[in-house]
Point group: C2
Chain length 348, copies 2
């Protein structure tokens, strides 16, 4: 499972079009920051870490044809602007573009990059490092998460926080299950379909079936019953943004799982790299992205509601710290009280 492929010799970025899965397996080449932004907006690339990695390569793509170092910096500024707008909620996106832009400025100021060619080579190394760091972080999160799993466990997840979402093939929320499976433990997953975009039925289920991990698909409405019936040992989800007090922004539907898990006494874990943390914003600052009403009025182009019905289509929700058992990062596991402990781990 390799959803993001960077050809380091030909400077070529190819991504698996996730909007067509599981029905078609199509790879598309992205040549410019504009094409990267479009791919993110159209959810060909999705999942916070995968967006971050792709945007890092998008920054590299922006300077390939620069006429001078000054021109390169201008193009990088512009590329950041273009790509940041594609998905406002995902913090990894602006983190990645800022990181790449800052690195470029340092290279120019310090004289490490004396021409465009040198700058391109240095930025390529940085983008590759974003990918490698993500992979390393996921392995680390997977190992921390593994401590929360026992053989025979069934994990409820939400959306797709697997290797498709992160671009590495491993994943965040699914990393513990995948590592457990590799180690021969008997673990399985319950995947809610995750309307409107059906990341659960289209991606999580596909990804786990490809790897031979037992998975059961349910509707989003059945999330309560599977916990009520004790069919779930723990909940493991990813995150798009985590605040310093432990508020977690993730795919719409996460909040309900957290509240029900809390009521049923089932542990609720959030798995995310420290790049997901936004230590500056408070819960009132973060705007929740709303998408096209037609995502709710239709499924795969087929109408399922009166065409003129009014729709509210938020794609993220926010889970207060009260409902979270622990946040698992690559730097360690954060337990409540989050307002004290988040900074201790993230700023470590």
């Amino acid at each position: 499972l390799k959803p993001i492929i960077w050809d380091n010799n030909q400077n070529k970025l190819t991504v698996l079009d996730q909007s067509l899965l599981p029905f078609e397996k199509v790879f598309v080449e992205l040549r410019t920051p504009e094409e990267v932004a479009d791919a993110i907006r159209l959810m060909k690339v999705r999942g916070a870490p995968a967006i971050g990695i792709t945007a890092s390569y998008g920054m590299v793509l922006s300077v390939l044809k620069a006429s001078s170092i000054d021109d390169a910096l201008k193009l990088l500024h512009n590329a950041k602007q273009v790509m940041d707008k594609a998905r406002p909620t995902a913090v990894n996106l602006s983190w990645a573009t800022s990181h790449m832009l800052n690195r470029a400025k340092q290279y120019v100021e310090s004289g490490e990059a004396k021409n465009v060619k040198e700058l391109v080579e240095l930025l390529k190394k940085d983008a590759n490092k974003v990918f490698d760091d993500e992979m390393e972080a996921e392995i680390q999160m997977g190992l921390y998460g593994l401590e929360k799993l026992n053989s025979g466990d069934t994990v409820l997840t939400q959306c797709n926080a697997g290797g498709l979402a992160t671009g590495t093939g491993l994943g965040t929320a699914l990393a513990p299950v995948k590592i457990a499976h590799l180690l021969g433990m008997n673990v399985s997953v319950i995947a809610p379909e995750t309307r409107p975009w059906l990341q659960g039925s289209r991606l999580t289920v596909y990804e786990l079936m490809e790897e031979g991990i037992p998975v059961t698909l349910i509707t989003d409405t059945a999330v309560g019953l599977v916990m009520f019936k004790k069919m779930v040992s723990s909940v493991m989800v990813g995150a798009d943004r985590i605040l310093s007090d432990g508020h977690v922004y993730n795919k719409i539907g996460t909040f309900k799982e957290a509240v029900i898990a809390h009521e049923m006494g089932i542990p609720f874990y959030v798995l995310a790299p420290v790049s997901t943390f936004d230590l500056k914003s408070s819960v009132n600052d973060v705007k929740i992205e709303e998408r096209d009403p037609n995502e709710v009025r239709t499924v795969r182009g087929v109408p399922i509601a009166p065409e003129n019905v009014k729709v509210f289509n938020p794609v993220f929700d926010v889970t207060p710290p009260k409902y979270i058992t622990a946040i698992i990062t690559e730097k360690g596991v954060i337990y409540p009280p989050f307002d004290k402990n988040v900074r201790k781990i993230v700023e470590r």
Copy 2:
């Protein structure tokens, strides 16, 4: 909105095929108990009270061609058996068929029905009374529920517990909103789409739009966020079965709304006629119906998941009494403690 039409002169039962709404408005004639059972199984007729009414007429249909009184009773026994199997969870179904069978036995034993023709006429009156009682009960529930509404309120519902579900055009959970709207109060509804069968997006939204009541469609995943954001004044849902201790069986997804409403301090009301109560069973006795996995793997025939994925497709869930603010019946409003108060009202 007239989803069940009984022609009392021609003994003809016609129902609106709800499986085709909101795209096509097709009425189908049901001629035999077998056709009624099929219509219930295929969800052309759905919603607990509508199923009860239709099954009552199905009992009438079963004796139209009886050769003798004895034959009629045999046919009624058989019709009950055939129809009861169509939806195991809906208590209204077996309630209606038992009621009609018992009435028939009484008419025969008492000599009121001396021949098939007399029996048919008496049973027609009984079936019409099932319909009229339902309508009267809904008006009563609507008036009790109206006391829980203020102008400006937004009610979150689940599935379709409107006039399509009950067969009368009014409904249970939607009755208070409809009466409030008639009285000129400013009320609106948020309808979750209710996968897998999409009663929310297909039926509730259609029904309310037809009547000019403001309605907003959301995905099932957004149920938590709308309550978190205080966009909801109260939750009003129907029920398929209510136990004597207040456990409520209703459309899959109801439980999650109840838990979240409880956590957010939003009142959660169940509206159902007393025929919905099952005072004999306990929560361990009731089997929750599971339906075809392809309902989850596809939407309107379009695949949305790998075709061989394992699926768990329960269509009801159970909400413990702890999460219920009140149960609104036509005989009065039942408040906690339900294990004491249910019988007081239901057996009144």
